[in-house]
């Protein structure tokens, strides 16, 4: 049946490592995403720890100024593109098909391609530490990124790996948009979608619209660096402010790309552990959509001190303050959800409650920056890192930890240690406040961000020392999280299908779910259908998770494939070839990579989703 000239046998029920490499099962890809992103999160954490040690006291000399610049740039880029986004993607992959009652995503092989491409981009960025990483800050302002200022390959690695990661994110987002619109179980109308799926849907839409802008900005920067174009070359009339605009036109929607999935997770966890439906479901959905819409009208609040003029600053002040309204609506809805509920303070619930408190603090300092006059005092001081860490650590990471524990029984089939989980929560809660709250003080005290050291007598020593101490509390907290997950994944107590008495469809199937997810595609009659089913007294037998899926059920799952990974490898080689374009033959490596990528795409498009010959062997 193979119609492609080069006929390579298809992987048939591969096991072990090959099973993971050729997998197109959304649950396995989700786990791959999660583990990879968590490792990246740790690497970003190590970078942060080194910075905090360097700043623990005045005029320390732990790392050089040059290394420090690389540390903060890599820390920011890693945490945003290699940790939070793919950790969210891990949940998209694992949870969304289960929540909408589907057997897989719309394009399983594209999904595998997204993961392998992400892995390639991530490796490429992190390996750039060899030979000097990027050091222009995570938003890479021109002209710090110009060849004249920054001749090494660090910036090139940053540009090209972000492009590769962009391809991965775009492919994944197209996939999830189609999956959510088109793979819902019968009766699962849009207004019956679980909140996490809704927020992921909005995130995916934001992503496909925002990422092309950064793609263009990076292309322009690439051409400036490689071919002496003039985009950001002031000598020939170019404007460095254009980079800032293009970056933040992407960058502000990106902020919501990071936080909306987190809001979705919290909106799942709170109703379950408060035993109440989400307060104002429609309002929360609408608020998410409004945030996404308004997220396009606020980007210049990152540029208040550039000198855009009074009118522009006033307009962006107003839009930025307005966007706090839908966010505030969500916070009230969450509080309304737990109000009067019968609350169980489990680990995921604690993280979600922690999210609300911490995110609120970050939101408050966000509203402070929104006033352009006020922002002029805060721009480029430690007040800004304080804000971003309250929204991204206290916000996104707390919600992700909540999700990691909430869905742990589902993806691992085991139970974690509740006691250890609670201890780790309190350590992380304490640690983050000790680390990040003092940054407000030193920031308002005038300490600039991104300086590798400071002299004694500025009044910054004490709070910097405190902040560094907080990091070690965080480290202990995270070691406990890793131990809790790692140990119990192997040896934990087996988890029942529905340990939380939860509300959404993923809890109506075995833990871990069988390869085909749903033996019978569910028919959805209401919001929180699984809850309604249980309340209706309808007893449903949940079959235990069987071995390798499709035997005996007549369920045809898409089969594993090599080609997504081959295509991703081609892209990876091509990306390296662009950075080292003068090695051996000019652009030769890039050309080889492109050829491999093309072969992968062609073989992929000629490979049927299900090989009919294979079907008959079952």
């Amino acid at each position: 049946m193979s119609t492609f000239p080069i006929s390579i046998p298809r992987p048939v029920h591969p096991t072990g490592v090959w099973g993971w490499i050729t997998t197109i099962d959304h649950k396995r890809i989700g786990i791959l995403y999660g583990i990879t992103a968590f490792i990246m999160f740790i690497s970003g954490g190590i970078e942060a720890t080194l910075m905090r040690i360097q700043l623990a006291g005045p005029e320390l000399d732990i790392v050089s100024a040059a290394v420090y610049n690389q540390l903060f740039t890599m820390h920011g880029t890693t945490m945003i593109f290699l940790a939070i986004m793919p950790l969210s993607a891990a949940f998209f992959n694992f949870v969304i098909p289960l929540q909408i009652g589907a057997r897989d995503v719309a394009f399983p092989r594209l999904n595998a391609f997204s993961y392998w491409t992400f892995l390639g981009g991530a490796l490429m960025l992190k390996l750039s530490w060899i030979g000097g990483a990027t050091d222009a800050g995570w938003f890479g302002y021109a002209p710090l990124t110009s060849v004249a200022q920054n001749p090494g390959t660090g910036i090139d690695f940053w540009i090209i790996s972000l492009q590769v990661l962009g391809v991965a994110s775009l492919a994944a987002s197209f996939n999830f948009i189609v999956t959510i619109i088109n793979m819902r179980a019968p009766g699962m109308t849009m207004m019956r979608l679980p909140l996490f799926t809704w927020m992921s849907f909005i995130t995916a839409i934001l992503l496909v619209l925002a990422f092309p802008v950064i793609t263009v900005a990076l292309i322009e920067l690439t051409f400036d660096r490689y071919f002496m174009f003039n985009f950001f070359n002031v000598a020939n009339g170019g404007s460095v402010v254009l980079w800032q605009h293009l970056f933040w036109v992407f960058g502000h929607p990106e902020v919501y790309i990071l936080i909306l999935p987190a809001m979705g997770i919290v909106s799942e966890v709170l109703p379950v552990f408060a035993k109440k439906p989400l307060f104002g479901y429609k309002t929360v959905v609408l608020a998410g959509a409004i945030i996404a819409f308004m997220g396009w009208m606020v980007w210049s609040h990152h540029m208040f001190t550039v000198g855009l003029g009074a009118v522009a600053n006033a307009v962006f002040t107003v839009t930025t303050m307005l966007i706090a309204v839908p966010t505030g609506i969500k916070v009230f809805n969450w509080i309304g959800t737990i109000w009067g509920g019968s609350i169980r303070f489990t680990t995921p619930m604690l993280y979600s409650l922690g999210f609300i408190a911490m995110f609120l603090l970050g939101g408050i300092s966000g509203v402070m920056h929104a006033v352009s006059a006020h922002d002029a005092q805060q721009q480029d001081t430690y007040f800004v890192p304080a804000h971003i860490h309250y929204v991204l650590f206290g916000g996104a990471i707390m919600a992700i930890l909540s999700g990691i524990f909430y869905w742990f029984p589902k993806y691992s089939g085991k139970m974690y240690s509740e006691k250890q989980g609670k201890i780790s929560f309190w350590l992380i809660m304490l640690g983050q406040n000790v680390t990040f709250f003092p940054m407000h003080f030193v920031g308002l005290d005038g300490m600039p961000r991104r300086i590798y050291t400071y002299v004694e007598g500025m009044g910054w020593e004490f709070w910097n020392g405190v902040a560094t101490g907080g990091v070690f509390i965080l480290i202990i907290g995270f070691l406990l999280v890793i131990d809790n997950i790692g140990r119990n994944w192997r040896n934990g107590k087996p988890a029942p299908a529905d340990p939380w008495d939860a509300r959404t469809l993923e809890w109506s199937i075995a833990s871990p779910p069988p390869e085909y997810n749903f033996e019978e595609i569910p028919v959805v009659r209401s919001l929180d259908d699984w809850w309604a089913t249980k309340q209706g007294g309808a007893h449903k037998e949940i079959p235990a998770s069987g071995g390798s899926g499709d035997e005996g059920h007549g369920i045809h799952l898409p089969q594993p494939s090599y080609w997504p990974m081959v295509t991703a490898i081609g892209l990876f080689i091509a990306a390296y070839g662009v950075v080292f374009n003068d090695l051996i033959v000019p652009w030769g490596i890039a050309a080889i990579g492109l050829v491999i990528g093309f072969v992968g795409v062609y073989a992929w498009s000629f490979e049927p989703v299900n090989d009919p010959e294979e079907d008959s062997t079952h």
Partner: protein, 241 residues
């Protein structure tokens, strides 16, 4: 068995929540996303319009009649594309092939025009008669001022317009270059489908979606050119913009 399977995948009503095809939905989401890609490139072009410090400007190099012809060719290729699709749905494989070849040839012609245009811009040279310069553009005036000050008969410049020359060169070549790259990719796609149609059972009316997707991409590239032609070429030469 295989045939049934294919018909189920590509038929008019799909077994999906909305009854719409996955791949077609992905294509439209991609095209919406690609709008933002070209939007950012056009924004860069427009923001830098008239900000070039030296070198040829649009009014110096653009040749509207020539570009009008290439625009016409691209519009016609879109028509040819829909006719190929229409032929396929009527199971007229021969017609399909003829219109596909004509579409690809017109696409290649458009690229040919672009190559010609790029090379003529890059080699743009100015030769001004110092005694009777006639009506000069700003750029020509500059060459006149520099080259005719010492009583020479002619003032010349062979600098041309390269991407490095000025902001106009930088933004123009990048924007139209990426459009050209889209067209080139489209030609590869169309030729792949054309070759496939010679293998029995690969291109059939039931599988018209394969052609439909390529056609959507092709028309999209066409509408982007409609925008570029107006915004870059026509507005570019217009002095008041």
């Amino acid at each position: 068995m295989a045939q049934e399977h294919a018909a189920q995948i590509h038929g008019e009503h799909e077994d999906t929540t909305t009854g719409l095809n996955h791949r077609k939905m992905l294509m439209w989401a991609f095209l919406g996303s690609d709008c933002m890609f070209f939007g950012a490139l056009i924004a860069t072009y427009l923001v830098y319009q008239g900000k070039s410090l030296a070198g040829p400007m649009p009014v110096d190099v653009f040749d509207i009649p020539v570009t009008s012809v290439s625009t016409f060719v691209l519009l016609m290729s879109s028509m040819s594309m829909v006719l190929a699709y229409a032929a396929l749905t009527k199971n007229n494989l021969k017609g399909f092939r003829i219109w596909m070849i004509s579409t690809a040839i017109m696409g290649a012609t458009f690229i040919g025009f672009q190559v010609y245009e790029f090379s003529s811009f890059a080699h743009h040279h100015v030769d001004i008669n110092c005694s009777s310069p006639g009506e000069l553009t700003d750029y020509e005036q500059h060459i006149f001022d520099e080259g005719c000050s010492n009583g020479e008969a002619h003032a010349e410049s062979h600098e041309g317009l390269k991407p490095q020359t000025n902001l106009f060169g930088t933004t123009f070549y990048t924007l139209t270059g990426f459009h050209g790259a889209h067209v080139t990719l489209g030609i590869v796609w169309l030729l792949s489908l054309l070759l496939l149609s010679f293998k029995k059972g690969m291109i059939t009316p039931e599988k018209n979606l394969d052609v439909d997707l390529a056609a959507l991409y092709w028309h999209f590239v066409d509408v982007v050119w409609i925008v570029i032609f107006t915004v870059v070429y026509l507005f570019g030469v217009f002095p008041g913009f």
